[in-house]
Amino acid sequence: MTLHPAAWMAWATCAGVVAFTTTDPFYLGVLVAIAWFVYATCRVPGPTARSFRVFAIGGLMAMAIRTALVFLGTVDASNVAFAALEGARLATLLIVFGTFNAVTDPFGVVRLAPRRFHEPALAAALALSIAPRTIATAGRVREAQQLRGIRTARWRGLPSLAVPVLESGMEEAVTLAESMDARGHGRGRRTRYRPAHWTPAGVAVVVAASAAAGVFLAAAWVGLGGLHPSTSPLTWPEATPWLIGVLLLLALPGIFGAFRDPVA
């Protein structure tokens, strides 16, 4: 059982909205755990499954850089804590996006492009799928170079990895655009090969994720639940138990994924 790519898109958007509304480390920590759970249970085996790890590392680096920027100005505990929490929010957003890339086929997202808005949809589809495509290409190139006895792990070996990756990225983009054209994008008529179907599970995921995002947006709007712990003065952050419960609605695709047939 696989979810509709649009359901995954809705899930990722809602999880991102939730991450955006809060800097409380408890909520962010639970959100990261949810992303990991969903990744572990729903990942599509293949080269794009690496995106989670790549984005997790990128998120941690973003957090470190965001915190390190404080040391250019006045340094005190409040500033550092504020920057670290902002960085944690950024890292959570990146990890959610990494999960999204690891659990769904990037070309499934491309197929969703509505035919009316051909050009912008093509651009958006390319932009959305560029990260997983690059990660997959990098994996393939590294493997090929290692077979040839070229080491790509060192800084000196970087060009031997980066040049083919960039080259094949350009090629893939052109191929994708041509293939979308050939399938009738922008012509008003096209047929679909094995179109993705909406399942009850997909609908449930969209409803649950929207509910979670709605509650967090409302809480942020009325100032409920301590979504932004005070850093000036520095206080121990608090979390509201029922908001943690609302957050767990986002784990629904993982629960569906955990009980699916492992062979399928």
């Binding site: 639970v30 759970f37 979390a239």
Partner: protein, 287 residues
């Protein structure tokens, strides 16, 4: 890959073990707060709706809190109703007065003006309540009305810290013993002569002698408008009401940190569940 799996599994197993440590930290913070509450750090909060002024003597949990946190503490201790807007960063509504939406200027030109107490008078707050820090002995004022500056916005009636917080705290001072055998400490002896005059250190943590706490008549807040008010101020005609604690002086952030506990439990369950599924899948793939 195998190492990653081992690490995640280790984390999953460690998480429940770390849980008590987390809770321990949380409890430690709560204990520290309670200890400081016993040390009686208080700030005065004055809320002037234009028709009525209410004063709150708010116990501060931490040594220093933000202006917004002070309102939340007053809500927890006295039942002050409030509503924040602009993403929880501004005060829209106090005691049911003010806009109820997210736009705190919904009733403009009327809005909640923010004041800091200064020598018994008021100074217009230059920055928001979210970034202001309030510590022991500070006075904070909120007044409803029009005017964009400190000279045009009506200020709350002039009240000092002692006007709001002059009654001895029941938790700090034992009931006054009228028996003459109670020997006051030498330091308190001199103030004891002044009878019902509440001394500034009456709210101090030393319960010695219990003599200084024998001030049955709380000092009446000044009702007359003070001379240093600006002429544009309409004199506040409303009565001044002292808020009475509702929840028996609930210690701020007391009780177990349920949210932190729930978050730690959720993280532990999710991590363990994810690692288990991943391990099972890997085994299935390799078999």
């Amino acid at each position: 890959m195998r190492r990653l799996r081992t690490v995640t599994l280790g984390l999953a197993l460690l998480a429940p073990a770390l849980l008590p440590a987390f809770v321990g930290v949380g409890n430690g913070a709560a204990v520290a707060c309670a200890a400081e509450a016993a040390g009686e750090a208080h700030a005065a909060l004055v809320v002037d709706t234009g028709s009525q002024t209410t004063t709150y003597c708010v116990a501060l949990g931490a040594g220093t809190v933000s202006g917004l946190r002070l309102i939340q503490l007053a809500s927890a201790q006295y039942g002050l109703s409030y509503h924040l807007g602009f993403g929880g960063q501004a005060v829209c509504q106090l005691q049911g007065v003010g806009p109820s939406g997210g736009d705190c200027f919904g009733d403009y030109p009327d809005y909640w003006g923010y004041w800091h107490g200064a020598d018994g008078g008021w100074s217009w707050a230059g920055s928001g309540a979210a970034s202001a820090s309030v510590s022991d002995g500070d006075v904070e004022g909120w007044s409803w009305g029009p005017g964009d500056t400190g000279s045009t916005h009506p200020s709350p009636p002039d009240l000092g810290f002692d006007d709001v917080c002059d009654t001895p705290k029941p938790s700090a001072s034992p009931p006054a013993r009228p028996s003459p055998s109670a020997v006051p400490s030498p330091g308190a002896g001199s103030t004891a002569q002044s009878g019902s005059q509440a001394s500034p250190d009456a709210a101090g943590p030393t319960p010695a002698g219990g003599v200084t706490s024998r001030s049955p008549v709380p000092k009446q807040p000044k009702q007359s408008p003070a001379a240093d008010r600006t002429p544009t101020d309409p004199p506040s005609t409303g009565a001044i009401v002292r808020a009475v604690a509702t929840s028996g002086g609930a210690t701020p952030s007391g009780g177990p940190p349920m949210g932190a506990f729930a978050a730690a439990a959720a993280v532990a369950v999710l991590t363990a569940g994810g690692a288990r599924t991943l391990r099972k899948r890997r085994k299935g793939e390799s078999a």
